[in-house]
Amino acid sequence: MSGADAQTYGDHSQWAETSHCRVSGVRHFGSFAALELIAPRVARRASPGQFVMVTVPGGGFLLRRPISLFAAHGDRISLLIEARGGGSERLTQLDVGDGIDVAGPLGSAFPTESVTNALLIGGGIGCAPLQHLADELTAAGAHVTAAFGFRDFRSARAAGAFSIERLWVATEDGSVGKAGTVLHLLAALDVAPGTTVYACGPNPMVAAVQQWTFAEGLRGYVSLEAHMACGTGSCHGCVVDTARGKLRVCSEGPVFRLDEVTP
């Protein structure tokens, strides 16, 4: 019940019933796949930063996979999935016409009201929700810049899935874009005062981005990754330490204020 008093961010609704969807489009980028699904009830309610719980088709995996919304247009949602284990690999192998069960949208959303300048910072598969966010911010007239970091050439293949006008890429091995981490990109950017920062990626990246925003005097939000079982607030499996105590990434999050989490 710890969630009852906790503040969550963004104007969003959550809906946990299962939607039986069809895959309407698949694009592959190395070990990544961008799946487009026909999911009208999910798409209608979706806000950037929210996620869905996806059942791995074909059996053999007990738990659903939490996957953030990569895009939502009309009656379609898109998911960007990285083949990391047996379950996610099977999801990247889906074809147009295949059935897939998803539940959502779930969790909190990125606040976007009265944002004029936005800096979107992503690491690896954590970049995924930032496309949905960029779409919404751009449509609202905001100036959007994105800085994405990847480990190597293989993981940087994901960048091909994105459609963001001002998108900068760094790889740790220097194979694509700037050599180094996303922090090296940030150092080279001219960031306007009052820019709102949105971050999503592995915890070490989030911690580094936190430090950078403090130093720059910027504020923003982060979407956290976590191991989840239920995805709907019941099991308390996905907690993160915050200034408000331990909170559930699936329920009070995944979007938190950047300055309140200890990832």
Binding site: M1, E17, R64, H227, A229, S234, C235
Partner: protein
């Protein structure tokens, strides 16, 4: 055409509409209601609600990560995170619309801590104006959590189990279940101790103490190092233990659980002597899991030619 099977069961003094309840810690009523378009209280699928374990004092639980998938199951080490019984009571009015009985899961380190939770709840119920409190009709004493330091020490020790039950028996006249751990040589020993000390029934099994390693580092993956294994992987062991308990204590109300994913699974627990069946990890697989499992149980009873749940109870135990 035969009539639909009679799903009603009597769990001690509790008349349940059907045999399915949720396993403590796997189903949060208010979280379901938040994510549902209709009135979830009116559409509540279980025959009774067993909320997440509450303790006398607040607990922050174990460090992350707390869960991991395993072959045919999952492991968890949440650590009984809860706000403590007094803060918890402050939110009970939010469930008042629930028509089904509530069986409160209670945890602690010492008998006095368990009894303090019951005393606080009994005082709350005695003082609550009509219609403002949920229908708390029983307690499940969690003497078997493998993820807190005291859990197994109580549940694996019949003397300590009896002390907890006896302290709670003094604190309430309501239906009292003791939830047994499977991490023992003979599960009937703790069962006998609990019943001897005044428990009205037994629920089993809690999770199996287990270990999962990080694939890269070969170090324990969970923040608590060890955790509790649940899911379909444990079902055959859970069935065996329910059968042993049902055979040893034939007239005792039993809530059977462990890896129930389908109506057939639920029927198998009933066949092994369970009065009611708790659904745990399956709640994590789909929002509609309880409704699906109940529909499947109804079908499975018909397919097997049973006219009621009572008729199916214990059929696996016959010589």
């Amino acid at each position: 055409m035969t009539d639909a099977p009679d799903l009603g069961v009597s769990l001690g003094p509790l008349a349940l509409e059907h045999p399915l309840v949720d396993a403590s810690g796997t189903f949060d009523l208010l979280e379901y209601a938040r994510r549902y378009d209709g009135d979830y209280f009116a559409d509540f699928p279980y025959a009774a609600y067993v909320p997440k374990t509450v303790t006398a004092d607040p607990r922050i639980g174990n460090p992350a990560p707390r869960v991991s998938e395993t072959p045919a199951g999952m492991i968890n080490a949440i650590g009984l995170e809860n706000p403590g019984v007094h803060a918890w009571i402050g939110h009970l009015g939010e469930w008042a619309a629930l028509q089904q009985p509530v069986i409160v899961s209670v945890g602690g380190n010492e008998p006095e801590q368990y009894a303090a939770v019951l005393a606080a709840l009994e005082a709350y119920l005695a003082a609550a104006p009509p219609g403002t409190a949920p229908h708390i009709e029983g307690y499940e004493l969690n003497v078997s959590c493998p993820n807190v330091s005291s859990g197994l020490q109580i549940g694996a020790d019949p003397v300590a189990t009896a002390e907890v039950v006896a302290a709670c028996r003094e604190a309430t006249g309501r239906f009292l279940l003791a939830k047994l751990t499977p991490n023992v040589r003979d599960v009937t020993e703790a069962g006998a101790a609990a019943l001897g000390a005044g428990a009205d029934g037994l629920s089993l099994v809690n999770t199996f103490k287990a270990l999962v390693l990080d694939r890269q580092t070969l170090r324990p993956f969970l923040g608590n190092r060890t955790g509790g294994l649940c899911g379909p992987a444990i079902k055959p062991i859970a069935l065996r233990m329910v059968a042993e308990v049902a055979q040893t204590f034939p007239d005792t109300p039993i809530v059977g659980m462990g890896g129930v994913m389908t109506g057939q699974d639920a029927l198998e627990f009933i066949a092994c002597g369970a009065t009611a069946v708790a659904v745990g990890a399956a709640n994590f697989t789909a929002f509609e899991a309880p409704q699906r499992i109940l529909a499947e149980l109804r079908d499975a009873l018909e397919v097997h030619g049973f006219s009621s749940v009572a008729e199916a109870r214990g059929v696996a135990l016959r010589a």
